[in-house]
């Protein structure tokens, strides 16, 4: 890619990542939450990969690592849901942590935890879709 694209990416990609994390963490106060914030975080990662380009072996290693991150994030979501089953009444997805004052950042029980892990999982899975399409194109006989 040309110099303008690389310089702009160096300036912007970190801010997009921070904005994505802001949308995920404030999911119970402002619109957004896990899905939308996860897509923004994945967008910043895809921007870096497109602008700078990585060679083939590193892509395969990145795909393996991202798959493990995605599976672990989903298992932690299921674990939080089951933790509601064990502590408190026998109900899955129960909201068992203390709910604070309306409008604070640390409030509403388990909702911010769900948002964070679902956001990680959505970002990882969209990045995996992008990486596997690139790997398929790279390893084809030209």
């Amino acid at each position: 890619m040309t110099l303008i694209v690389k310089k702009t990416t160096q300036l912007i990609a970190g801010m997009i990542f921070m904005y994505g994390i802001y949308v995920i963490v404030h999911g119970h106060l402002t619109p957004g939450g896990g899905f939308a914030g996860g897509v923004i975080v994945a967008g910043s990662l895809i921007l870096i990969t497109l602008a700078f380009g990585v060679d083939f072996l590193k892509l395969v290693k990145e795909e393996a690592g991202t798959t493990i991150i995605e599976s672990m994030a989903t298992l932690i979501v299921i674990l939080i849901a089951t933790a509601g089953f064990l502590f408190g009444t026998h109900v899955f997805f129960n909201n068992f942590l203390p709910k604070g004052v309306v409008g604070e950042l640390v409030s509403a029980g388990t909702l911010p935890l769900y948002n964070i892990f679902v956001g990680t999982e959505v970002a990882a899975s969209i990045f995996i879709i992008f990486l596997s399409l690139i790997i398929f194109k790279e390893e084809s006989p030209q």
Binding site: T74, L75, I78, T82, H90, V91, F92, N94
Partner: protein, 511 residues
Amino acid sequence: MNPLLPLFVIAPLAAAFLIMIIGRFVSEFNKYFTSLVLLFLACLSFYFLFTTGENQFVYKVGGWEPVNKIPIGIYMVMDGFTAIIVCIINLIGFLAAFYSISYIKRYTAENYFYALFCLMIAGMNGVVISGDFFNIFVFLEISVISSYALVAFGVEKEELEASFKYQVLGALASFLILIGIGLIYWKAKTLNIADIKTAFANDYDKTYYTFVQILILSGFGLKAAIIPFHAWLPDAHSSAPSPISAMLSGVLIKAVGIYVIIRLFFNMFVISESMSVLITVLGTLSMVIGVFLAIGQWDIKRLLAYHSISQMGYVVLAVGMGMVLISRGERPEVAALAITGGIFHLINHAAFKGLLFLNAGAIEYTIGTRNLKEMGGLARSMPATSATSFVASMSISGIPPFNGFFSKLIIIVAAVMGRFYLLAALAVIVSVITLASFLKFQRYAFYNETDAKRDKVKEVPFPMIFSMVVLSVICLALSLLVIPEIREAVLTPAINILTDPAKYTSTIIGQ
């Protein structure tokens, strides 16, 4: 509030992601873990089958109790009809997963196969358990997207083309269902199935209601492959790997197609005569056209796929006859008999069609071709496969004492008693033509003359034999369901939930 109900969804979901992580490091972990999880789910579903009976179990997700008698949470409901379908899904899922321990060695990327298989089972369990209309749509999409990937698993030319056709038609069906959900929410202002029935029972606009019913019937009819929505089924079911064909044809078109149509039209919509006549006509067309398209086929799996369309036509015909009789308000015992025949044929078809596809997979595993003209004389060298194939062929044609005979007999007797003489005659003719088609299959595959190079084939490995033998024993044991005591315990609770107009809603709203 029964806390065991969400296990049907959470256990396969957690298993799928565990397989993705641990399967990278430990080599033989994925296949045995899948079989273990599915065996646990099969035992749990049999426990629910024997303890449900006439009462319903309701589970409110998140513990949101109703406010002013209006349900505001997502409900999961287990009643008599759901218990039967959950048993079918998990039992045939376990047998197909055990079969694929030795079948999938031919393909690469086994890890992804077992993870997608567990996701498909989780989606199907979620569809039959949920009591909330949008939840049905979400779990439907989970299971159907997994099946798109599984159909295209061995990436050859034909499998990719079949998967593409399946995907475009499946996406079209999903949009029709989503528009139907939107139109229902507009008027009823709620998404709970029991609550929609009470909202629609007061007063409704008849043309609006019929439009919504036709949209829902088209959407789910595309998933269930009724004529004229059958165009994807022969390609998709014949190109998939064999355990996936058994799951698709034996379970998926029932759990996300026929089950949802029966549940919505009996428990959510008010039954009207025009829609019942439409459903009966569609069932008859499926039955007749499916079997005529199947006669000229020389590829075994395409032959079995066309027969799936025809047998599903039997089920839709029986349910349609029951709906016509209920809507006219006459002879409720004949309606109950027709619906009993339909649900019994649903259970039987899962067993023998699954067995037939597993047999076709065993033949393809040893010989390597699917064309009937190139096979012959397998009965001596593959005894287990040919014996189980004989049992399955006699079941599907309706020969006593196998299970197909009893379910077809109940449907034909109900048709004669309800004075639908033309439908009874068509059912008998279609059964005779099915027998002719399967006699051709048996002769060309197993009992024909053999040539020298066929004498070197061996029997298939042990996991495949185990699944086929267990399914053939189930085919024989299911014919015991016609005895009155066993029928009272298993089938009659399902019929009561469906035909009694107030029973489903009163239990859910009251809790």
